[in-house]
């Protein structure tokens, strides 16, 4: 059986996989990181989003073997060791940006990537478009958008140049 070596949340792992094994299956079933969810399994819902080499990707739409040598960050890798939440997680909590919580790990991972890659600021419309790979059945998205806008100043440690709303 082939092996894949990848770094997940700073820790290096070598795992035996099949050719068809998906990255999300390695994360959940081999490494026990069940914070990354499988929602639709048709590459549309975004519940499985993680960061691979600094980019948000759908871990259900990537073979584990494609992640050879990659640096992967999952929802479990965001909070500090003392339990302090990442600013995006904190703003999701603050703004009640989740109800059932199923989409939340993917939503948070996509949102962090979106905010990090827009140092010029984000409008409400840009946040909504930037999250269109993540589906939520509960919230109506409004509080998610608020949380992402609120996290921008915390992540960039300055006021957002453009008003989000």
């Amino acid at each position: 059986m082939p092996q894949v070596t990848l770094t997940v949340n700073g820790k290096r792992h070598t795992v035996a996989v099949e050719g068809r094994t998906l990255l999300v299956e390695v994360l959940r079933e081999k490494l026990g990181l069940t914070g990354t969810h499988i929602g639709c399994d048709t590459s549309q819902c975004g519940a499985c989003v993680v960061h691979v080499n600094g980019d948000s990707v759908k871990s259900c739409t990537m073979l584990a073997l494609q992640a050879e040598g990659a640096e992967v960050t999952t929802i479990e890798g965001l909070a500090k060791p003392d339990g302090t939440l990442h600013p995006m997680q904190e703003m999701f909590r603050e703004h009640h940006a989740l109800q059932c919580g199923y989409c939340t790990p993917g939503m948070v991972m996509s949102a962090i990537d979106l905010v990090a890659k827009h140092p010029e600021g984000l409008t409400e419309r840009e946040i909504r478009e930037g999250l269109d790979g993540n589906l939520c059945r509960c919230t109506g998205y409004h509080n998610i958008v608020k949380a992402v806008a609120a996290a921008w100043p915390l992540m960039h440690q300055k006021a957002m140049p453009q008003a989000a709303e």
Partner: protein
């Protein structure tokens, strides 16, 4: 998903040899269509040959061409200062494919080789008169797209880059999204460049991307949204499905063409 053996060659020659070694071997680019297809068991490859290790990613700008490597991701095309400057409509198109996560994996070569009838890239490649470069030859866009999911690519032929002729005076893409998939219900790319004035339509045609030649003639005479406002597309050859009838798509072609022309300025 049925199991397969995974291969990651580091040269085009090795990739071609692997693909040629087995009739059921398949190439993997970004995987944003291919992996969902595998998950649905619509395809049962014996070998999957990952093209990501071939060193085919990158964008280069010369005086008379913008060359995009086959493995270049949509996000990198969208974010490239060279693409934005040389062919802004192409950068905008790449930035609207799928969602951020798809754009972080999907590649131009993969999109073109698949030739999904609702994919965005074929419209730009056809409207801009680009050349698809493979390990064997160069193929003009006019000859490359040969119907739904069908291209001029032969067995064992791999796209290595796409060359867009410059200078491009005007370029823009307008897409009406199918909201669940973010593929084009109808997408129209308009361009004025070395290939002349061209209008290419994706998402609508039963045989995939096509040129709207009546609009091209009208825009050659007068580049303005009004020039195409009265030009209709026969619905007979257009797709009809639960998302939209052929007549609806025909209507959208004119609407999207007008929007694209306005956006191109």
């Amino acid at each position: 998903m049925y199991d397969f053996t995974y291969h990651r060659p580091t040269s085009v020659a090795d990739a071609v040899a692997l693909l040629g070694s087995d009739a059921d071997a398949k190439a993997l680019a970004g995987g944003q269509t291919f992996i969902p297809v595998l998950k649905q068991r619509l395809n049962k490859p014996s070998k999957v040959v990952d093209l990501a290790g071939l060193g085919l990613a990158g964008i280069s700008l010369s005086g008379n061409a913008l060359v995009i490597g086959a493995s270049t991701r949509h996000a990198d095309v969208a974010g490239s200062a060279d693409v934005r400057r040389a062919i802004p409509g192409l950068a905008a198109l790449a930035g609207g494919i799928g969602d951020n996560q798809v754009r972080h994996r999907g590649t131009i070569g993969g999109s073109l080789a698949n030739n999904d009838p609702a994919a965005c890239y074929p419209s730009a490649v056809l409207a801009l008169g680009a050349t698809i470069v493979t390990n064997k030859r160069s193929i003009a866009a006019d000859d490359f797209f040969q119907g739904m999911f069908t291209t001029a690519l032969e067995a064992g032929e791999i796209i290595t880059s796409v060359s867009f002729p410059l200078p491009v005076a005007k370029s823009a893409y307008a897409k009406f999204n199918q909201p669940a998939s973010r593929f084009a219900l109808v997408g129209v790319f308009v361009a004025k460049g070395p290939a002349g004035v061209r209008v290419a339509v994706t998402g609508a045609g039963q045989n995939g991307v096509f040129r709207q030649r009546a609009m091209e003639a009208a825009l050659t005479a007068s580049w303005s949204p009004d020039a195409v406002a009265a030009i209709t597309t026969p619905a007979a050859d257009l797709n009809s499905d639960i998302h939209g009838s052929a007549e609806y798509r025909a209507h959208l072609i004119t609407v999207m063409a007008k929007r694209a022309i306005a956006a191109a300025g």
